[in-house]
Structure formats: C-alpha cells, structure tokens
Symmetry: C2
Subunit: 359 residues, 2 copies
C-alpha cells in the first residue's frame, strides 16, 4: 500500500493504469470521463441526451469513447434506469418455419427500437414454458410474447403480477382473457372443412398434431367437427390420426387411413408438414391427388405452393403476426393501451389438392 492511492479500495482497477496484473478490464464511463476531461454525468448525457451537451464537448466525448472502445454497459444502465430494453419471445420450437418466421419478424421490429429479443423454446412442454417465463421475468424483460394460451395458470399469473405487457400469438378466441394476435383456429378449420363439404366430400379424415395442452390444435379439431356436424356428419375414429407434426407422421397416417373401409375421400391436415406427408405418400401409393383423394394443409409454408400438385391450404402471414405482436408490445411500452387488435384472417388458397370426390 505504498502507492499514492488515496482510497484503500481492495480491487485493482483499470483506471489505476497499472501495467501489472492480468486481463485488462473493460473501460468504464469514469475512465472515458477522465480521458475526455469531463464529468461522468456528461459522458452519460452524451449517450442518452446528446442535445443537452455542447457540440464541442459532445464530439470530444464521442471520440474518446470510440478510441477507448467504450459503450454504456447494459446491466448498469438497466439498473439505474429501471429499464432493461429486453423483451422475451416464448415459442414451441424453431424447427417449425411458422414460429421461426414470427420470431424473425419480431426481432427485426424490436431491433429498430434498440430492444433486444430474448428467445425461449419450450418444445410443447407446459412446465418448460412456465419455467422459461420465470427466467425471463428474472431477467427483467419488459414485455413478453407467448405462443398459445394453453399454459399453466401460474405462467400468466406471474406475468400479470409483474404488470408487464404481454401478448398471446397464434390464438384468437373472441372471449380470451388475454391480448391475442392471431386468428380463430376454430373458424379457420371450419372454413377448410366447409370447402371440402361443399365439394361433396362426406367421408373426411383428419391428421392432426397432439391436442393435449395445445389450445390451437384443439380448436382446429373442434372447427372440423362443427362443420361436419352441421351436415349431420362426423369423424370416424379410424379416420382421426393424432401425432407429432412431421412429414413422416402424415405419410403413415394417410397410409393407415386408406386401408380402412370405407376410406376417406378427403383428408384435412393440421398443418402443411402433415399435408405434405399425406400428399407424398398418397402419390407413392399410386393414388391420384386430388382425383382419388383430396388433401388440405394449413399455414402455407414456402414449399407448399411448389409441390405438384400444389397444396390447397390456408395462408397465414406469420411475419405479420410477429410484426403485429411487436407493434402491440411496443405501443404498450410507450404507454398507450392499444385497442384490442382484430384477428388476422387466414385465407383459403385453393390449389391443386382438392376436388370433387371421385367415388
């Protein structure tokens, strides 16, 4: 302690300019302030309220900061400012193009405003989702976008306890207690089923993702059942396959279904991946689509329009969902309480995989 160090501070600091010892610490605001011969407050102002500091000084500070490679450290400023500028996105998985698109769009929209996106994938596991949300809250996210509303009640409770804005995506029940950006899954599948019914189909199969703990999927199935019921029809048990959304599951399901008697003349699939599988397998089995079998998908992923025949499906603008979710949350953060957004309306794209039944 023979140095001319006034304070007995225990930790050696970079600002001590001691050539000894290990890794150089990152420069701090006070280092920049010292180098630019201003106070630390001025440094801070240069970065947060530049108009409040004289141009000459401003330039000097900026130059010094740049030279030293300094920029405000987010943790410190988050603490002082009580704003983290972080928002979280909670989705099932990035392996589905649909959610990847939503996240991509949100990320872009937030980046414009200097907000960083924290991502979590819960893999269709409600406990995981609840846990991830906790972790995000601990990180101080200022807003949250969550796919679906079939989550543990404590998930929403803990968000609400923090009084931060949030939005549920991909769902849009008219009477949902949550702010939603999405579409009415039930209605959408009602529309698809009607399309098939109107073509004259009466024996309709369904290949769909697991409904357990997934409000969107349950709603889709409900929509189909409702449309059929209106015509006095139903789904035969052997014509309902529920399982992971994968091309392979679509394939094996359609194969199983076509082995029943009578086989369905049309198959409604819970998403395009399943429909792809159904289409490919039907063709592999020597069937002509749509002549022998009509097939519908949902989502309109990139590949769907490219197939031969191109897939009849419903188009959902996933980037738009991401953009709207971001816009909504941004508006909340800026203090306005935006009006409840209208639902998106997926549009039926009649392409080549549906036709009047042959039999």
């Amino acid at each position: 302690m023979s140095e001319r160090d006034p304070k007995p501070g225990p930790a050696p600091r970079a600002s001590d300019a001691r050539p000894v010892s290990g890794k150089p610490r990152a420069p701090r605001a006070v280092d920049v302030a010292a180098a630019a011969e201003v106070s630390i407050a001025t440094v801070s102002r240069v970065f947060n309220n530049p108009e409040k500091v004289a141009p000459a000084i401003r330039e000097r500070v900026l130059a010094t900061a740049k030279a030293m490679g300094w920029m405000p450290h987010a943790a410190g400023s988050a603490l002082a400012r009580r704003r983290t500028s972080i928002v979280g996105a909670v989705i099932p998985t990035l392996d589905n193009e649909v959610f990847a698109a939503q996240v991509g769009a949100m990320q872009a929209a937030f980046a414009d405003r200097g907000i960083t996106l924290l991502l979590s994938c819960f893999n269709y596991d409600q406990d995981q989702a609840a846990h991830d949300v906790q972790a995000m809250l601990a990180r101080g996210v200022e807003a949250l976008a969550i796919v679906g509303e079939a989550h543990r009640p404590d998930l929403f409770a803990s968000i609400q306890a923090r009084h931060i804005p949030y939005v549920v995506t991909y769902s849009h029940r008219p009477d949902s207690p949550h702010p939603c950006i999405g579409f009415d899954n039930r209605q959408a599948f009602h529309t698809i089923a009607r399309h098939l019914l109107d073509l004259g189909h009466e024996t309709i199969g369904v290949i769909i993702q697991p409904t357990a703990g997934n409000d969107r999927v349950s709603a889709r199935l409900d929509g189909v059942r409702a449309a059929l019921a209106e015509r006095g029809l139903g789904i035969r048990p052997q014509h309902l396959c529920e399982g992971e959304w994968s091309i392979d599951f679509g394939r094996q399901s359609v194969r199983a279904m076509l082995a029943t008697d009578p086989p369905p003349t049309a198959v409604i699939c819970g998403n395009d991946y399943l429909a792809l599988g159904a289409l490919l397998e039907a063709r592999a089995m020597g069937l002509s689509v749509p002549h022998d079998l009509s097939i519908t998908g949902f989502d309109d992923i990139a590949i769907s329009r490219q197939l031969d025949p191109p897939l009849t499906t419903m188009h959902v603008d996933n980037h738009e969902i991401g953009r709207r979710a971001a816009a909504y949350l941004l508006a909340c953060l800026e203090g306005s309480r935006p009006a409840k957004l209208p639902p998106l309306v997926p549009t039926l794209i009649r392409r080549g995989t549906t036709a009047v039944p042959h039999t």
Copy 2:
C-alpha cells in the same frame, strides 16, 4: 415528511408499505430479508450458495420469497457478480431451416446451464452484423457464436478486445484464425462435383447463393471449380447462376440454363432450397430427373428426402453444429481452453436425383 422515516430518501419505496400511490414495485431482496427476518446477505446466499445457510432458515427464506414472488433481479446480480450469463448468437436469418436448427440446439444446451441466448439476425448484411455484435457486447454477452467468417474486421476486433470466447459456425477453413465449428465448404462441394464427374458428367451447371461477403458460399464455388479443373473442365458462364437462395430462383435458373446450348447434364445447387426449385421446374418442364438432368443440393433439409425422386444432397447435422458451438463456448466459460475441434464432415447422400448422363 411527518412520517417516522429516518432517511430523507426521495423515491417512495414499496418497502415503505404505503397503501397510497400507483403501481406496486417489484419486491427486492431487502423486502424478502425483512419479511423472513434475516439479513439481505442471507437471502442472497440462499439463492447462490444454499449450502452455506442453515436448512431451517433456508426454507423460511425460500418460502417467503415464493410468497412474495421474488427472484433475484438479473441486472443487479449481473452488476455485482460481473457475470451476465448471457451469450449471443448471430445468424443470417431464421428463415433458413439450417440456422434455425443451430439456434434451437444452442438455446437448449445453454438453457440447461442457466444461460440465456440473445439472438440477432443480420440478413446477410455485414454492417448489420457488426452493429449487432456491438449491441450484444454492450449487453455484456459472455460469449458469441457467429455464422461465417466473412465479416468486417472490426467485428472480430471488438470481440477480441473484450476477451470473450467466440466461435464461428458453418465455416471450417483449416487455416482460419478463428475457432470454428463447421465443415470445409470447399471440400464438401469438391466431393459433390466429384460425384457428378465420376458419373460421367462433363457439362455441369451451378446455381448458387450470392458469393459477395459470404465466405461459405465462395468456398463452395471454389470447390466445384477445383474439382472440374482436375478433369480439365470448367463452368461455362451461362451455366453459373448466382442469386438469392429461394425455390423460385432455383426454378428460374434451371429454366434459363436448359435453354442454353449445350445445356448442362447436371446442376449443382448451393443449397437444398435451390435444388428443390431446380428439381420441381425440371419436372414441370417435362424432363425426367435424373435421366435427363442430374441435380444435387446441400444441407439435407427435412423435405429433401421426401421428394419424388428424393434429392441427392449432402447431409449436415445442424443441430450438432449448435450443440458443439454451445459446448465449446461453455467450456471456454468454465476456464478450459478446449482443443480446436475437428471439422464436421458432411456426408453425401446419394438419392434419386443423380445418375449417369443420358446424352
């Protein structure tokens, strides 16, 4: 100020238990400490070094915290601990299944260790990438994974200045100055080209993503050229189409190429999306693949094996790249300086789109 408040603190606090005024503030460690009748240090220990506090007290604190809905606030602890437990992933876009898979795998691997993933998509724009990295550094990321090494030099310089571990993915030049997790793009495309040459093709077209500012793509093109050169062949200018990786670009490129004289007997595509387009368009034009035209892809995305005929391509395990990148960074963070990882080796999957040339 007639209250029995000892300090003249200006900001009203939740701990003042004043029923008046607006939003309730989130509880802090000191509130929990007070409620559990321990010191704030004990609260902190319960959450960070639980073995250091007596079981009875530990339970009491835990219960109190839970009741109050408290958990350590990340910004505060990041500051005190000088660890943010955040790592960043910098990728071109989530719209490509390949990068989405990598990010998904990294996210899962990090989540296990309590580390949060910050995501940024630079859309193949080097300036954007450099900017994003800056922002991440300001956020205090402790490590960084970046797709590709064709970035502005200051991007790497600023990472290195911070002395944080980083890794470049999807590249693996033997003499790269960066730690890489990926494969040798040049070698991989050399292999593909050889496959076609060995089948007897001599007029080979290439449909590829933009090479500018993309080291991976440039390497791929180099690999093809090298393999052709070994047989005294080259790529004719009219047989080289460079553009955005999209199914549509694949389609229009193959159409253009087949209009040349002589047309290529085989087309090497820079990725599976392009190959998909090429395949679909060739078929739409009435060609038989692979009889009239051989086509190769790269990446082996989910749909590729499902097509009819299934696509000959090279399989890359993108989840594995994510896992390895995460493992490498994790190891660095734990202090070990792991040995340079060996490259992944993409494997050629000969499926149905390549055969001996017909002509």
